[in-house]
Symmetry: C2
Subunit: 242 residues, 2 copies
DNA sequence: AAGTGGTCTAGACCACGTC
DNA sequence: ACGTGGTCTAGACCACTTT
């Protein structure tokens, strides 16, 4: 009879939105504790169980991290466990050494059609392009180009990149306050062209994985596009299907 | 002082195990409703909220599917939404037509070292090998070989495969009662050999995705190993990183 | 001992689907 | 009208960490 709620949204989702807003507004920074469930319940005037359910979802989204006895923390790419969350490449040998990002070049450009579409900016808008190589135990395994909206990364230079000794996302988070929440990859097989072959030290024509990634921050806003090639001679791309 | 529980397991997980046992025992079959939360609460002598939490996890694991107002159902590969849950290949054109599995051959063999290791059976144990092609709109895009422990799939023949007009997992579920819960894929780039080139109608040497998959049922028991090559000329492998 | 998240309960009420 | 899952509350107690 009376259609009460064509757009019904449960309380805990509204609380989730409020917490998300506070995060976007920088009220609590990555790595820090947020207030206890009880405090948030008082603040938002709901029961502790409702806050709990909101936080449950955000923990499932990898936005928050619960630690029993200590509190709930804002997820950070500086955390070793989160650091290579988006890298699915695994050595055949199974050794778990962290890869090292080696920046090669960094320049300003204008967004082309594809970059504009994927980054949801205007064609011709200023972007920053980074070219780099990822090395596992000295060996170059990945060669990418990374496209960033200049507006969000102003001041990023090759020097900045070279002076940073950890993952790129940890740099982006620390210096630009950007939190990467999720990403989408499109994978194809391609033959190494001359440039890729040189960078990865393989023969021209070697089959490589072509990986395109768009990375999103809060509210599904795209903030990074990268495309690269992966050498799968000594490594493979591992994917869990659930 | 008194270390009460070095292996503490909350009640709802114990309930989860009990429900899992009932599923493995075939008490409720894929596609069917299971008893209501209230009934299960009475049966296991816990509160409805505790059953709820157990079912929450199993729904997150894609083992059960909740339907508000109707009940909770055992997930089934006959369900159109689950049917191609493990297939990540998407046409560039974006059209969503279902692929068609075309079996080519099916024979008995003995497990080699690799098959035995991945399927957790004895080397030399009887297995069934299926060779098939996946077609999208008539075009062959995937060529696979599928390795199955004979014990679990006895009676599987080419005729059976050919007379089945849906996904393989839906056949395996319907005919052998096997429920695929999760899978793990290892992806590499390779050059098409003669056989692959013929099956996929591409030139020899064309870069292809090599995809190896091990699929697990309840209790992380491996029940299928497949390896195949994907043509990524008109399609790509889509992966969500979360 | 005090504070945090984690579990468990019981009861009320809402939204959805079926009869 | 009834039964199902979905939400929300309030309170008790457990497990883990810090003081």
């Amino acid at each position: 009879m009376s259609r009460v709620s064509p757009t019904f949204s449960p309380l805990y989702r509204q609380i989730k939105s409020l917490i998300l807003q506070a995060l976007e507004g920088g009220e609590w920074r990555p790595g820090q504790v947020i207030p206890s469930e009880q405090e948030l319940a008082v603040r938002f005037n709901v029961s502790q169980g409702t806050v709990r359910k909101a936080i449950d979802e955000m923990a499932a989204d990898n936005i928050l991290v619960r630690k029993q006895g200590k509190g709930t923390f804002v997820a950070s790419h500086n955390d070793p466990r989160q650091m290579f969350r988006f890298l699915r490449l695994v050595p055949e040998s199974g050794d778990l050494t962290h890869p090292k990002s080696v920046p090669i070049d960094c320049w300003r450009a204008k967004a082309g059609q594809e970059a504009a579409r994927l980054l949801a900016i205007e064609p011709g808008a200023p972007i920053i392009v980074v070219r780099r190589v990822l090395k596992f135990v000295q060996k170059p395994i990945v060669a990418d180009e990374i496209y960033l909206p200049e507006e969000l990364y102003s001041g990023l230079t090759l020097e900045v990149l070279q002076s940073w000794d950890s993952s790129l996302y940890s740099l982006f988070e620390t210096r630009y306050g950007l939190r990467m929440i999720r990403a989408q990859e499109r994978i194809r097989a391609v033959a190494a062209d001359r440039a890729a072959a040189e960078l990865l030290e393989v023969d021209e024509g070697t089959p490589l994985l072509s990986v395109e990634r768009v990375t999103y921050t809060y509210g599904d806003r795209p903030v990074e596009w990268r495309r690269g090639v992966y050498s799968t001679i000594d490594h493979f791309y591992l994917n869990e299907l659930t």
